[in-house]
């Protein structure tokens, strides 16, 4: 077993009286595409920002983010800036918010090349054109002078990926990179990420609310709910046999083509208010399989098969398919 590239352990984030992240941990292996799935407010996007120290100063972050033998949470802002963008790249959901609207795309890439690699002048421009070409922007050299508003949504996301890749990071953090895009463009961007992962031998952490996106792209998945990891493991196994009642509920609430026009099976209620988290399992109030023990204390993550963990007290019955459908 080789050491993971990135290891996030016991991450906790407090913002004022709120605790949007209670306990999140996962490892990312070299060359792996890891999915983090959860609904809005689950803490999945916040996790990526916490890793890179991008949270506002009002937030307090605890735990460990181990990267290349050091804890990123303990680094000075200056040292962290050397890792961010250079060793770990990031792309966001809204490229229009992340790109500078008054700078040509080419300049935004060469800026990154100068800051991280010390490349300047013609060499930087040539490299920038190579990067745009690599992410599938046609006539890359001519497009260096284009402004973000001259690009379509898909092209902007490609340009963002080019900027993130400028310093050849070993890890790319992607926060809902395709959520704002049309389905055929989403498909193109996901295939691009997979191709780049292979070509550049980097790892990708993909945060999304769309389980279909995870199923089509990721090797492993971490399911988060109310700021906690509920289960994690290989994608195919988790989707075939979830080991957490929440995952089971999510999968069952999706439309099934064989049951068109019939009632879906939603999860009752809505996610917990972050100011009033329950004492036990955060999913227990909505869970059809909850037993008294679920309400008492937060169940810890426990092994649930090879390379799998789950925080569900009924994981064994779920994976054995011993629970009657609700």
């Amino acid at each position: 077993m080789t050491a993971p590239l990135l290891s996030v352990q016991d991450l906790m984030v407090r913002i004022g009286p709120l605790r949007p992240i209670s306990c999140i941990g996962f490892d990312v292996a070299a060359g792996e595409m890891l999915g983090i799935a959860g609904e809005s407010g689950s803490g999945k996007s916040l996790t990526l920002r916490a890793i890179l120290g991008l949270l506002p100063s009002s937030a307090s972050v605890e735990g460990r983010v181990l990267w290349a033998g050091q804890d990123l949470l303990q680094l000075s802002p200056r040292a962290l800036a050397g890792v961010r963008g250079r060793e770990i790249g990031m792309v966001f959901q809204e490229p229009m918010m992340a790109l500078n609207p008054v700078l040509p795309i080419g300049l935004q890439i060469t800026e990154s090349l100068r800051a991280h690699l010390g490349l300047r002048g013609a060499a930087a421009r040539t490299r920038a054109a190579e990067l745009l070409d690599r992410v599938g922007i046609p006539a890359a050299r001519e497009r260096l002078g284009s402004f973000p508003h001259e690009f379509s949504g898909g092209m902007r996301q490609r340009a963002m990926i080019a900027i993130a890749l400028a310093a050849e990071p070993k890890l790319l953090l992607a926060d809902e990179p395709t959520t704002a895009l049309d389905v055929t463009i989403q498909d193109q961007i996901l295939k691009l990420l997979l191709r780049l992962r292979d070509e550049l031998a980097m790892s990708v952490v993909l945060v999304t609310h769309d389980l279909g996106v995870i199923a089509e792209t990721c090797d492993r998945v971490v399911i988060v709910y109310a700021g906690r990891v509920q289960e994690s493991g290989p994608v195919a196994e988790i989707f075939a046999r979830p080991a957490h009642a929440y995952t089971e509920g999510l999968l069952r609430s999706l439309p099934d083509p064989r049951r068109a026009r019939q009632r879906l099976v939603p999860i009752a209620g809505s996610p917990p208010d972050p100011t009033e988290l329950p004492a036990g399992c955060p999913f227990a109030p909505r869970c059809p399989a909850a037993i008294p023990a679920c309400l008492a204390t937060v169940p810890p993550l426990a092994p649930a098969g090879p390379r799998r963990v789950s925080a569900c007290l009924r994981a064994g019955e779920l994976t054995a398919r011993a629970l009657a459908p609700a």
């Binding site: 049309d182 055929t184 498909d187 609310h209 609430s253 068109a260 879906l264 809505s270």
Partner: protein
Amino acid sequence: MNAFAATKLLAAENLTRAFPIRHGLAALLSGGHSPAIRALNGVSFSIGAGETLAVVGESGCGKSTLARALVRLIALDAGRIIFDGEEVGALAGAALRRYHRRAQLVFQDPYSSLNPRMTVGETLAEALTVHRMVSPAGRAARVAELLGEVGLPAVAAARLPHALSGGQRQRVALARALSVRPEILIADEIVSALDVSVQAQIVNLLIDLQERLGLAILFISHDLRIVRHIAHRVIVMYLGRIVESGPADAIFAEPMHPYTAALLRAVPQIGAGRSKAIALGGELQSPLDLPSGCAFHPRCPHAMPRCRTERPELRPIASGRLAACHLSG
């Protein structure tokens, strides 16, 4: 056969709308014709009472313009809408108000379509008052009844929108639309902003409401998984035109237009096996500068020389199915 054809509630014929773009004063003075975005380009369809007709397509295909045109929020350049035997464009005064009661539009983002300063009860009561649906004395009871219909507790009447979750707000928006007993609901991406578990709740609610009230639903969505679940029939749009229409089961089982086929391939699926091939290359053409012939030909993997010069008409291919492709039929 289409079981709803006998009770045609709304028919759209050749709906056409372009939005001119003005490029500065100089262009205006020189008198050159200004370019225009052709958002709707000869769109025709009909929907029966109690039927769910889905309109799918990517951004810029004209589906939201269609929703707004149907309730006359946007005027048409050409074409007409026939609702229950009357031409909607000719309605005025009381008759138009009556149409606006019978055809209700619900938007994607209930947070921006609900008044943030009005309680849920006030919002619902306002709709009832405007359309004189109940006597002032019966209003509170009707509000409670409406909340029950959309699965909200009666105490929700005292809440402000910000105190509700996204799913609850969408229930309020539906309750407001239902308060005036409409016959057709035009739902523009109403589940798109919701989390999956909540999405399923709203989808069930729509199916329930339709069965109970016999509503026709024009369900506009980019989410093909939900469309497949909810729709009886489907219209696929590309750059302002219908490229394919027909019964949902048939379209999803065997799409006839290459664009429909690509859309279906692009939907991320669980347990479907992965493909490294891209479902559809290229991007949407600019609606300002529509391609000659078939507007889809620059992206179409099957394009032939004829597709560049001759626009395929939307024509019957099989029972209840239309497609606009030189290759089909």
